[in-house]
Symmetry: C2
Subunit: 236 residues, 2 copies
């Protein structure tokens, strides 16, 4: 399998690469007709392909083979976080979390959010390249930004956790309370933390209060380490 990876959600039907991937293939990598490449549909498959037309905007390929590549974890990991003001910090979190393995990202709009909007395309670009770089074939879902209240009211089958920094006698370490094989949804707040009202709303809706350790962590660090905690628990 050629280790030049491309992402084309519709590859199976279109046998084409999207504009940006075509550009990368032809302009950056200078690939030519007959070259071998590997395409993923982000739906759990790798397709070793041969380049038929090296078009700078829509490359056409022939699919030589279909290799199933399911995700490497057997639980659902859904992380909902309040994006930081600094876009770089969100982007590195998205990159690292994707390398590590996450099913779904939900950017939250919280009372104390420093960032009120988030361009989905930029995050998607990062996530796609991290997925390719880490040789995965399942593309995480990236939700548009959603108000906190609306998000927590959504149903979720599995454990629901809220990592907040307010004093709370019922708070447990995520690493202690979550168990192997459990689907997990974790909420991470903005730099200014969740509001008391938001925490209460979450608790009322069945979210469990958790901490991620002794030290005060930045939002993006907390988000990544929350994801990794679940993976570590599942390795045991």
């Amino acid at each position: 399998m050629a280790d030049t990876f491309f992402y084309s959600p519709g590859i199976r039907v279109s046998q084409q690469l999207p504009e940006q991937e075509s550009q990368h293939c032809v302009k950056v990598l200078r690939m030519k007709e007959g070259d071998k490449l590997t395409v993923t549909d982000g739906k759990g498959f790798f397709y070793p392909c041969t380049l038929l037309q090296a078009h700078p905007k829509h490359c056409i390929v022939s699919i030589d083979e279909e290799i199933p590549r399911p995700k490497s974890w057997d639980f659902t990991l859904h992380i909902a976080f309040a994006p930081t003001k600094n876009i770089d910090r969100i982007e590195w979190f998205a990159e690292k979390a994707t390398e590590l393995g996450v099913d779904r990202f939900s950017p939250l709009l919280c009372r104390f959010s420093e960032r009120k909007e988030l361009k989905g395309e930029r995050v998607e670009k990062i996530v796609v390249s991290a997925m390719k770089q880490s040789q995965q074939a399942v593309m995480p879902i990236i939700d548009p930004m959603i108000p906190f209240r609306q998000f927590v009211e959504n149903p979720f089958t599995g454990r629901k956790f809220i990592a907040h920094c307010r004093p709370d006698p019922n708070k447990m370490a995520l690493a202690k309370t979550c168990r192997k094989g459990e689907d997990a949804l974790i909420l991470i707040g903005p730099e200014g933390d969740f509001s008391e009202e938001e925490v209460q709303q979450a608790l009322d809706l069945g979210f469990e209060p958790v901490s991620l350790g002794e030290n005060r962590l930045r939002t993006e660090t907390a988000s990544l380490l929350a994801c990794h905690t679940i993976h570590v628990l599942n390795a045991r």
Copy 2:
């Protein structure tokens, strides 16, 4: 305790802030005589202080109190890694690992290292600000870059692990083999991995081969997640 933190290794004796911290105090934060600040010596103490002289190069303070603040983990975590070509990736690893809690950083010069030298000052700057931001009072040790062979021959009391990507029947998941309370030294290789010879040298010297998960991780991601794995195991 005032939450404007400063780092001054010699505070107890000198009752001064170093040049850079003085600059930050006077020029950036515009602090004035009589203002309260918190200084850490990086050796496990916070010192609530009062600013006596707001000098742009060497602020003089009076120590009002001495508050012991030992590190929040009761094991030794030593990470040795081959720095990436891209300095930003090293710097974010240093920042995140410090927020999380690490005792010692050792940059390695490996056969396939893309980066042959590393400016200690830049990394130290990042580590200091991460230590302050996460309100810790113990400064991690930052070693100068050291050749792989020389490093692995140093003694270490505790478990020694090498995370390499070569096929190895004896490899175990770090999360499965390391146990709570154990001191750990973990080696993380360059993008091109450790050489076969380096892996063999480490194994001969008692390093245990480990993996960090299913997915292929970037050097800096692997380094951070290796550190976090140890913390998660210790939370259980």
